[in-house]
Symmetry: C2
C-alpha cells in the first residue's frame, strides 16, 4: 500500500486538501483515510457551520473571504451547499461599542461590508428584542443593555455535510480514493537512509514520517511520499508520540436546539425581513458572554449556545468517541437560557429539544490556523472555531505547500495570492485575531 | 489561609520569582508551595545546569546575560553557586559552519564574546579529539568531520541546587514563607462578584483564579490576590482543567555520567588548559545530533547526552513522579556513545555509571519563555532547556508584571530595561531562537 500523498482526516479540512491536491497533481495517487464510517462525522458534523468574512486579522479575512466566494459560486453553478446568507448581527453594549470601535474601523478600512445600527433602528428591526434590561435577574447577572449593532453582510450559514460531500465527490470523481472506518494507530518514523539496524532511527540519522500503521477497513502499513495531517483535534494524538507540536488544543462546545413550535413570537423572530434578502433572522450574537442564536427557518427552530472562556478544560488528546463529550442540560439552563430570555423574551420557558457537543480545535496563540511542513508531513489545523469557513483556502494552501514548499505562494479562489510561510511557525507572520465571538 | 501572592513551584523559576517579588513588595505576604519535600527537586535538580549568553534572539540574550551577571556577582560577593566558567565549544562541520555563519555573525554584531577556531587550532588545543573521521561506522552514521569551532566565553555551568537554595534562603530571610510536600489539587475559579448560587461561576460572570485546593503538608484552600504559576512542565496540569493554555509541552531528556577513573587520556581530557582560566574542558557540543560533553573536574567525571529531535513523545501532562521517566541504557549505547567515541577515542568502551532523566518544558513556538497575566494569575514558563540560565531575569520580570502590569518595563540585573509584553502572547514580540543545541 503505497501512495504519493496520504491525507489523514476526512473532515472538511482533509477533504478540501485532498480535492485541491488531486486537482493540481492529477498524476499523484492520493488516499484519504478517516476513522469514522462516513466522511465528516467528527467535529465538522457537530459544528454550527457558520461563515463570516468579518475578521480583524488580514489573514483570517482572506482565508474566509475567498473560501466563502468559492462556496457561493459552487452553489450558484452546480450544487446545493445549504448556504443561507443571513448575515451576522453583533449586538453591542455601550462598553463593547467603545472597546470594539477600532476593530470595526479596521474592518471597514479593509473593505469588509458592514452595516451599523443604533438602538432605535434595532428596536424597529427586531421588535421582539429587549434592548433595555430591567429585570432583577439581569441586574444581578450584570447583563448590559443593547445600544447598537454591527451587521456583517457576507456572512451566514452553510451545510457542513453537503460541503464535505461536495469535496469528497469531486475528489473521487477526478481519481482520488477515500477509505473510511480506518484508524491510524501510529505514524511511522524512518531514517532517510536506513541501515537495517534494530532500533532505527537513531538520533544521528536524518528521519522523517514515511507512513502510518492502520487498523479497521484497511490494515497494516500505508506508505506515502507526503502525509497530510488534517485530523483536527486529533492531530495531537498523531503528533505527540513522535514529539512534534501540532499547536492545537481541544475544547468542548455545546449546541442546543429550540423549536419555535407554534409560538407566533418565535416564528416571527425566525421570519424577519429587516436584515437580508431571504427574510430570515441573522445569526445574532448577544452582548457579553458570547451567547448566540441561529435561526433555521427550514426546521422552524433555533440553535443557541455560548462561547465560554475560563473554567472549562482544554483537552490535549481527545477521546475517539465524541459521544464522550456530552452536552449538559445545566449548561443550557444556567448559562445560555438565562441570557437569552433576557434579550429575547419569546424564549421564556424554552427547553432544548436536542443538544450535542463537539470539540473546537484551538490555536490559542493567535486564533489563526497553522500550515507547516515537518519531517515528511504537511500539518494543518487550528481552525479555532472557524475551520469550515476557511476550509477551501486551507486546502489550496496545503496543495501549494506540496507543490512549491513553504516559501511558495498559494493562489486562493478568485486569484488572490497568499504567501504560505505566513501560516507556518518558523516564519509565522500573522496578526492575532481580535474579532472573536 | 490567605496570602497576597502564592507562588506554585519551588524550582529555580518559582524561587527567583518569590525572591524578587518579596524584595520589591516587602509588605506583601508571599507563600511558595511545592509538591516535593525539598526545594528544586523537580526538573531543576535533573538539569545539566549550564549557562550561556550565546543566543541569536536578543530576548534570550538579555535574559541569560543579565542572569549570568547576577549569578557571577553573587558568587563573588557572598555565596558559592558552583559556577565554573568553562566556556561552550561548538564543534562545527563544513556544512554547519556555512549554515551557522549568519547566526555567528549576528551574535558577534550584538557584542557577544565569541572566539573562532579552525581545524588546526582545535587539533592543537584538543589533541585527544579526532577531527577527521575515518571509521566505517562513522561513514555509515554519516558523521561529519570537524573543520572549526565557535567558543562562547561567558558560558559555563552552575550548581542548580546551590542556586535554588540561595534564592530560597534569601526569600525566607526577608520574610517569605515556603511550604513543601504540598500538592495543588486544583485551581479555584470564582466570580469576581459572587452571587452565592450553586454552580458558579457561570459564563455571564467575570471570573478569575482566587486560590488553590491543596493536600499534603498544607491542606484545604489557600487564597491569594495573585497566583504565580511557575510549575515548569506541570503548568499544564494546573491550567488545562480551567482551559488556559500555558504554552508548554514536556519532553524527556537523559543524562549519563562517565567516570574518568584512572584513564590518563580521560583525565587529561578533563584538565585542558587551552580554553579557559580554570583549566577545564569546556562544555563541548559535537557536530550534528546535538551530542555533548560536560567535564566535572571535581568529580573526575563527564556528563554526556544528546538532544534528539523527532520520534520521542511530547508529554502534555507529566506524571508527578519523575522516576516514571527513566534514562535508557540503549539510548546511551546507540546514540550518545556511538557519536562520542568517534570524536573522542578515549571514550572507547566507556559505560555510564549513573544515568537519569528529566523533562524539558518546551515552548515549541519560538523557544523563548512566556510570562503573561491571565485571570488573576501570572503564568511563567517555557524555559525550553535554558530555564536556569534565565531564571534571575524571569523572576525580575514576574515581579515587574505584578507591580506594573504587562505594559510595564522590567529592570533586569545591571539596570537593563525589558518591556514585559515581549514575553506575553497577546503582543508577543520575540525572534525565534536559532542557536539551539
Amino acid at each position: 500500500m503505497e501512495y504519493d500523498i496520504l491525507v489523514i482526516g476526512a473532515g472538511i479540512l482533509g477533504l478540501s486538501c485532498a480535492y485541491h491536491l488531486k486537482k493540481n497533481n492529477p498524476n499523484k495517487e492520493i488516499l484519504v483515510i478517516d476513522r469514522f464510517r462516513a466522511v465528516a462525522q467528527g467535529n465538522t458534523a457537530r459544528s454550527n457551520a457558520l461563515f463570516r468574512n468579518t475578521f480583524t486579522s488580514p489573514d483570517n479575512q482572506i482565508l474566509s473571504d475567498t473560501s466563502i466566494d468559492f462556496y457561493i459560486d459552487m452553489q450558484k453553478s452546480a450544487v446545493d451547499l445549504g448556504i443561507r446568507k443571513t448575515g451576522y448581527l453583533w449586538l453591542q453594549s455601550e462598553r463593547e461599542l467603545s472597546l470594539n470601535e477600532r476593530h470595526v474601523q479596521k474592518m471597514e478600512d479593509e473593505g469588509i461590508e458592514l452595516r451599523k445600527y443604533d438602538r432605535g433602528e434595532l428596536e424597529r428591526m427586531l421588535p421582539l428584542m429587549r434592548t433595555k434590561l430591567t429585570s432583577e435577574e439581569s441586574r444581578l447577572m450584570q447583563l448590559e443593555d443593547v445600544v447598537g449593532g454591527v451587521f456583517g453582510v457576507k456572512c451566514g450559514r452553510i451545510d457542513p455535510d453537503k460541503l464535505s460531500r461536495f469535496y469528497a465527490g469531486e475528489f473521487v470523481r477526478i481519481g482520488g480514493k477515500i477509505v473510511l472506518d480506518t484508524n491510524v494507530k501510529k505514524l511511522i518514523v524512518e531514517p532517510n537512509q536506513p541501515l537495517g539496524i534494530d532500533g532505527e532511527p537513531f538520533v544521528w540519522q536524518e528521519s522523517r514520517v514515511t507512513g502510518v500503521v492502520v487498523e479497521g477497513q484497511m490494515q497494516g502499513e500505508i506508505r506515502a511520499g507526503t502525509i497530510v495531517i488534517a485530523a483536527g483535534v486529533w492531530n495531537n494524538e498523531l503528533l505527540d508520540p513522535i514529539g512534534i507540536d501540532g499547536h492545537v488544543k481541544g475544547k468542548k462546545r455545546q449546541l442546543f436546539t429550540i423549536s419555535a413550535g407554534s409560538s407566533p413570537d418565535l416564528r416571527s423572530l425566525i421570519h424577519n425581513k429587516s436584515f437580508n434578502a431571504i427574510g430570515v433572522l441573522p445569526f445574532v450574537i448577544l452582548p457579553k458572554s458570547g451567547c448566540y442564536v441561529k435561526a433555521l427557518e427550514e426546521n422552524n427552530e433555533f440553535w443557541v449556545a455560548c462561547e465560554d472562556d475560563i473554567n472549562r478544560p482544554f483537552i490535549n488528546v481527545p477521546e475517539r468517541d465524541l459521544e464522550t463529550y456530552k452536552a449538559e442540560p445545566s449548561y443550557f439552563e444556567q448559562n445560555v437560557y438565562r441570557i437569552l430570555k433576557e434579550y429575547f423574551p419569546p424564549f421564556e420557558n424554552s427547553k432544548p429539544n436536542q443538544m450535542w457537543a463537539g470539540l473546537y480545535s484551538y490555536n490559542t496563540l493567535d486564533m489563526i490556523p497553522f500550515v507547516f511542513v515537518e519531517s515528511g508531513m504537511i500539518i494543518a489545523g487550528g481552525g479555532s472555531g472557524s475551520g469550515i469557513m476557511k476550509g477551501d483556502a486551507m486546502g489550496r494552501i496545503v496543495d501549494a505547500v506540496y507543490r512549491l514548499g513553504e516559501n511558495g505562494e498559494a493562489t486562493l479562489y478568485g486569484g488572490k495570492k497568499y504567501p504560505i510561510h505566513k501560516l507556518g511557525f518558523e516564519s509565522r507572520q500573522v496578526e492575532r485575531e481580535e474579532w472573536i465571538i
